[in-house]
Amino acid sequence: MPVILASIAIAVLLAVVSGLGLYSMQEPVYQSQPMQSVRVGDPGHNLVGPNWSGNPPRPQNSERALNATSREPG
């Protein structure tokens, strides 16, 4: 019986060590295959945020141009 119990303990120990080693080799898919798009598993910073209005974003250049036009006389 001591040999059996020791064998079970060795099996569990080896399994834990090899399991930890196995899972430390793995990396999340957003690390192994990075891309610019949004991933559900790791949305990162590419989110609409809490102040999203639903309107398409206004380009910075057109905003400046609009301000410049409004300042011109006539």
Partner: protein
Amino acid sequence: MLLRSRWCPLVALVLIGALNCPVRAQHGQDPVPPASSAPSSGSNPTEQAVTEQQLFQEMRKLEGRITIPDYKAALLEQPQGRSYQFFHERVLPWLMAVLIVAMVAGLTLFFLLRGRIVTQAPETGIKIKRFNTLERATHWMTATCFIVLALTGLNYVFGKRLLFPVIGPDAFAAVAQWSKFAHSAMAWPFMLGLLIMAALWIRGNLPDRHDWRWLREFGGFTSGTHPPAGRFNAGQKLIFWAVVILGLVLSTTGIIMLFPFWALDINGMQWAQYGHAAAASILIAVIIAHIYIGTVGMAGAYDAMGRGEVDLTWAREHHSLWAEQQQLRVHRDDIAGRAGAPAE
């Protein structure tokens, strides 16, 4: 005037009903007339659309364009995938169930017919060392791993069919997740134990001239006398080689699946699954027989691997050639011990 006033509400109701008809039709509240009675006013566009099945039959493969880097995800369906699905969902559960149930039924029948195999002569009380500590530790370590691997592997196939309806989705999700961890982790000590066992016992399990007689007499079941056998009889040799060969198949295909797409493509992965599942089905059935004969099937068999010692009577009856060799060795050791002892 009286007539006019009496019919006015009725006319108004009819007019309101007539005006209301298009509105009800737009809201889809009208009952749909039977197809046979209603004349068709046009074709249903979705009815004419091509189905996935038609596309698959025409093109054999369904592929698309994707934006993620994993190009394999662009392949949606292919013929091999359907064959694999048929195997995994239809063939494999039946294969496993039939093999396991047939083995248990066969052993039960054997036990009812033959009963427990006991020694014909009384025990002598003299013990012979059968397995040393390393052999027993390797056996029990590998056995522990195999039981965990078998149960967690069976969960892959039968879990959703048998366990899920009993314990519910939440508990089954947790069980399946931990089963997956245990299966992947226990595989490594199992492979280590398999290699050590193969190295320790391969010499004693090589075929010899006594094996055919043992098999012909079914270990003495048909002849009524124990055929001669060395350290391992032909039945034990069959189990040993089944464990080694099927264990190697399981190890190779298991490593392939532990590191997906590292060595093989999707078809190769599916073939690895075929081999893994088939080898596991056979080996589980073989090990059930091994557990039976090592416990309830034969008196004294557990002592060999449990304590490492067997009675001399058991050794003489089941492994007569090995028992003779062991007695000769002990006798030689005694003579050598006496010869080497200093004279007083």
